[in-house]
């Protein structure tokens, strides 16, 4: 038996205030999109690994290898519990993500252009059965997602032509789950440490 509070994972900060109940629900699919989705996915990974759970990130062989370990560390991700699976070939994508859902609490994977609805439904069922979270990023997710988060336009502070340093960025975040969409400007680069 799994009790309700064990099923949810609390997310802190401005992002947590936007989420329904301030938490991520296990056994569901979350779809991230928008230009700043990479910073957003690190925030979610941090919430999972900091509570002692395991997470994995899948990189497709077709896209660039771009996981940023240092930013993950700054965001509060426990790198020891954050596995990286690289260069997954096209035909193994669904198998690898499905296998990871067996042992990880959160699996982050880019949606490939070739994702089939049948595979997506199977992965959704697997996530629900194993009480794991599947975070799919970019592209278009062919089936239902419990939560769709968009990290859209950003405004950077601190840098002028020829002077200053990058300091912070206000990102326009829209959370579309149950009920009306919630939106706010969140500084995704305001990181622990």
């Amino acid at each position: 038996m799994v009790r309700a509070h064990e099923r949810a994972l609390m997310v802190g900060g401005a992002l947590g205030e936007l989420l329904p109940g301030g938490c991520l629900r296990r056994g569901s699919v979350i779809h991230l999109h928008g230009a700043q989705r990479s910073a957003l996915q690190l925030a979610l990974l941090a919430a999972v690994t900091r509570s002692g759970e395991w997470a994995a990130i899948v990189e497709s062989r077709d896209g660039p290898a771009d996981f940023a370990g240092l930013a993950a560390l700054e965001a509060g991700v426990d790198l020891e519990r954050c596995a990286l699976v690289r260069a997954v070939p096209r035909e193994r994508w669904a198998v690898v993500v499905g296998a990871l859902l067996e042992g990880m609490t959160m699996v982050v994977a880019p949606v490939p252009a070739y994702a089939r609805p049948a595979d997506a439904r199977r992965l959704l069922a697997r996530a629900r059965e194993r009480q794991a979270m599947l975070v799919v990023t970019g592209g278009s997710w062919p089936v239902d997602a419990a939560l769709r988060i968009r990290a859209g336009r950003g405004v950077w502070h601190g840098l002028e032509p020829g002077e200053g340093l990058l300091r912070s960025c206000d990102v326009h975040v829209v959370v579309d789950g149950k009920g009306a969409p919630r939106r706010a400007c969140v500084d995704l680069f305001e990181r622990a440490g």
Binding site: G34, A35, Q36, S38, A39, L42, G52, E53, W54, A56, P64, A65, D66, F67, A68, G69, L70, A71, A72, L73, E74, L79, E80, R81, C82, A83, L84, V85, R86, A87, V88, P89, R92, V95, V96, A99, L100, E102, G103, M104, T105, G152, R153, G154, V155, W156, L159, E160, P161, G162, G164, L165, L166, R167, S168, C169, H172, L188, F189, R191
Partner: protein, 558 residues
């Protein structure tokens, strides 16, 4: 000294010395026969030695080479007696009771040692000195005194060690402060010191003095270790007929792994580093060292052996061939493995030295445990806590490793470096999570001048992507050798940026990185910029751009 001969054969007919530092002075650690003929003595100051011998060549001491060369001597003596103790390269001792009885007396045993070791030290066999006495300390002084004998052998009769030691000066105790004190007390020789009552020595000089007192009387402070040597834990199997296919060899390896770990488990040990060795029917010998963070399980070990065999037996696979008996190459190889061949996970990193292919099936497979630890077992968390989750994750990641390859799955670890990409090392799953470049040096945070400041970008491209970094007139932005930006950046174009890039709203830099100029393959001279680009669809996007040899690349997106 033997090491110097090997490394530089031209030294054979010239006088030379090996120097070492002793406090503020440089002294002679060893001298060649020609140098000794000129009057150079061990322990003499370098300048004096140079004055005595014209054209003296001075060589730096190399302790690891010494240890390596001395290992051959130790091995030769091992043929006579198995219970060896190497005190330091150059000095080894062993209890003589058994072997002396076998060879018919101490003197014959000493002659035997001389005959075995002498040829190894050519052209300087006169340097072999053998001393036999009651304890190790007395034997060592006897060996030193043996230099005066014609035969270079000195045997002190049993029970006669106290008498033998008596005329030596107290400085021979190797304790400068005590010796100075004894001399001021008027006790000039070991015999004088030995004559003091033991209780008085203890009262006046403490336990350390008591120890030296025992030595002066010819007792051994620490008797030779006579315990049974540790058992040979190597497991090997001969394959007949030779295995040319991975699955046949892997099946044999599975049994081998099970046996090895079962034997280790009997002794309460776990294995963290294992050497896989194989021989082919044509006599090629293949070696690779695998390390694991915790103790290896039979399944994990079998899996590693299988990956290894995959690499060896697959056509055109990179392997390393090691000549038989070449221990030095073996050491280099394990050092190579330690240094993290699979540094950035850019693919197979095995066998950078000498790439070759196997020409036949495997006839022999051997597993050598290189590092063992006391196995602390595994304790599952109450109600299946963190440990259970870790075990589940381990199982899944191991399975995916089996599916996609060893280097496809791993975790990141922070290390020293200047750019966000340099500061992260990808470690394949199962290997120890250690940085290659240090974060701390001697307790202080290592300095990486020109480090790109925080915040770190959220996407770092392993392979930088070509970009256009242009000024207002449409020409590429240029940076001169002093780091001055000659024209202000105005436009960035790159396929990874939203809408393909756009006008520059803000920029700073450059950070000039002129790194590893001593390494032809890895050197890099470039200028890095933080740039904020205005895009139509996504608003402002910050990125990290590198100019190297006039070309711009996109390193990372914030």
């Amino acid at each position: 000294m033997l090491g110097a001969y090997r490394a530089r054969p031209e030294l054979r007919d010239r006088p030379f010395m090996v120097r070492e530092r002793s406090g503020p002075r440089e002294v002679v650690r060893a001298a060649s026969p020609l140098a000794r003929a000129d009057g150079v003595m061990v322990g003499m100051r370098r300048r004096e030695a140079e004055a005595r011998s014209a054209g003296l060549v001075v060589v730096d001491a190399d302790p690891s080479a010494e240890a390596r060369e001395f290992e051959q001597i130790a091995r030769a003596v091992e043929a006579i007696t198995p219970r060896l103790e190497v005190a330091e390269p150059g000095v080894l001792s062993f209890p003589t009771r058994g072997p002396a009885r076998y060879f018919g007396g101490d003197a014959r045993l000493a002659a035997e040692i001389h005959a075995v070791v002498g040829p190894l030290l050519r052209p300087d066999e006169q340097q072999v000195r053998v001393g036999i006495a009651d304890g190790r300390y007395a034997a060592r002084l006897a060996a030193r005194a043996a230099g005066r004998e014609r035969s270079r052998i000195l045997v002190v009769a049993p029970g006669g060690s106290g008498e033998f030691l008596a005329p030596f000066p107290v400085a021979a105790l190797g304790d400068e402060r005590l010796a100075e004190l004894l001399v001021r007390l008027g006790l000039l020789t070991l015999g004088d010191f030995a004559n003091l009552p033991a209780a008085d020595v203890l009262a006046r000089f403490g336990s350390d003095g008591q120890l030296r007192h025992g030595m002066a009387r010819g007792f051994d402070p620490t008797p030779a270790d006579l315990s049974v040597p540790p058992p040979d834990l190597v497991e090997s199997i001969e394959l007949d007929p030779p295995a040319a296919r991975v699955d046949t060899a892997a099946f044999a390896a599975k049994g081998l792994a099970d046996r090895l770990l079962a034997r280790l488990a009997e002794r309460g040990l776990g294995c963290t580093r294992v050497r896989v060795e194989a021989e082919t029917e044509h006599g090629e010998r293949l070696v690779r060292v695998w390390r694991h963070e915790g103790a290896l399980t039979p399944a994990a070990l079998a899996e590693r052996v299988r990956w290894q065999l995959d690499g060896w037996l697959a056509a055109n696979a990179p392997i390393t061939r090691v000549a038989d008996g070449d221990t030095r190459a073996l050491q280099d190889l394990s050092a190579l493995a330690d240094a993290g061949c699979l540094d950035t996970g850019s693919g197979q990193g095995f066998g950078r030295g000498g790439i070759d292919t196997t020409t036949g099936g495997l006839v022999l497979l051997r597993l050598v445990p290189e590092a063992v630890i006391a196995d602390s077992g595994r304790q599952l968390g109450f109600w299946g806590g963190d440990a259970a989750a870790a075990e589940r994750a381990d199982r899944v990641l191991g399975r995916i490793q089996g599916m996609l390859g060893y280097a496809a799955v791993g975790t990141c670890v922070v290390q020293g470096g200047r750019t966000p990409a340099e500061r992260i090392r990808f470690v394949p799953w199962g290997e120890p999570r250690e940085p290659v470049r240090p974060l701390q040096v001697g307790g202080e945070v290592a300095a990486w001048p020109g480090q790109i400041p925080a915040p770190a970008p959220s996407r770092v491209f392993v392979a930088p992507i070509a970009a256009e970094f242009l000024d207002a007139s449409g020409a590429p932005v240029r940076v001169n050798g002093r780091g001055d930006v000659l024209t202000a950046p105005a436009v960035v174009r790159c396929r990874e940026l939203p809408d393909g890039g756009g006008p520059v709203r803000g920029w700073c830099g450059p950070w000039l990185h002129d790194v590893r100029w001593w390494d032809r393959a890895a050197r890099q001279r470039c200028a890095r910029f933080q740039v904020v680009v205005d895009t139509v669809g996504a608003g402002e996007v910050a990125c990290l751009i590198t100019i190297e040899r006039g070309r711009a690349h996109l390193d990372a997106i914030y």
